[in-house]
């Protein structure tokens, strides 16, 4: 909330982009969470495939719809920034295309997990897809360096000082932390709900099987 209010009302407008620079305060956190969410999905998928960890399996299934929603918002807000700044809603440049592929990977994961009659097989197929799709993450990150794209290169990196003014950087950090915490909270709530649903399904199955055992057949 602090980051959003700061970005909307108190941070200065950019000398070149004007008011549209404020879109950055929501676009950048959603772009970061789109990639970070997929990384989390891949880690959970790896844990589920290698160690057959049931919680990792559940988390992988629950991360993908949230990640897909956040990737769609990233593309939508980027488009809303592109129209007044570039003069177009969409260009097929490397960064935009690779993020669009990320959205397709999320959607593919959601569909594949639910496409099998046997949920275990569905989740396993989804995990393999998630691990294969990880190759897209470095492509997203380095697309602006490897190819000549309309999208600008990164302004903030782990090494070197940021090339963005502090008056714009601080609200961006606040919105990034805030939306990251919200993403984690939403995923954790969904995982909690999935655990309750699994326990409920187990109880119902146990009740049905105990009734079948007590009722005489024929």
């Amino acid at each position: 909330v602090v980051g959003v209010v700061w970005g909307l009302y108190f941070s200065p407008a950019d000398w070149q982009q004007g008011e549209t620079v404020r879109i950055m305060y929501v676009h950048v956190p959603f772009a970061w969470l789109a990639s970070a969410g997929y990384f989390m999905l891949a880690v959970c998928s790896a844990c589920a495939l290698v160690w057959r960890h049931p919680l990792a399996d559940l988390a992988a299934v629950e991360i993908s719809p949230v990640g897909a929603a956040f990737t769609a918002v990233c593309l939508a807000t980027g488009s809303l920034w592109g129209k007044p700044t570039w003069g177009t809603w969409w260009v097929w440049d490397a960064r935009l295309t690779s993020v669009f592929v990320l959205l397709l990977l999320y959607c593919g994961h959601i569909a594949l997990v639910r496409a099998f009659d046997n949920p275990v097989r569905g989740r396993r197929a989804g995990s393999i897809l998630a691990l294969v799709g990880v190759v897209n993450l470095p492509i997203i990150k380095f697309s602006v360096d490897w190819w000549n794209t309309l999208h600008q290169p990164a302004s903030i990196g782990l090494t070197g000082s940021p090339t963005i003014a502090p008056s714009l950087l601080w609200p961006l950090l606040f919105t990034t932390i805030g939306f990251t915490l919200l993403f984690v909270a939403i995923v954790m709530t969904r995982v909690r709900a999935a655990i309750f649903e699994n326990r409920l399904r187990g109880k119902l199955l146990a009740r049905v099987s105990s009734q079948e055992n007590t009722d005489p057949v024929g």
């Binding site: 549209t20 879109i23 929501v26």
Partner: protein
């Protein structure tokens, strides 16, 4: 002025999707918790 429309639209989409996701997750969790509690109560009655 035109820029403001794009900014407002971006914030409405971003905050709207986040809030809807959070509400849906909480509703689903609350419903599952209530159904589980009801199943436990039913079992205890027996």
């Amino acid at each position: 002025m035109t820029g403001t429309i794009y900014v407002n639209a971006a914030y409405v989409i971003a905050i709207g999707v986040t809030v809807i996701s959070a509400v849906l997750a909480n509703v689903r969790c609350g419903r599952a918790e209530r159904r589980l509690a009801a199943a436990d109560t039913q079992r205890d009655k027996r």
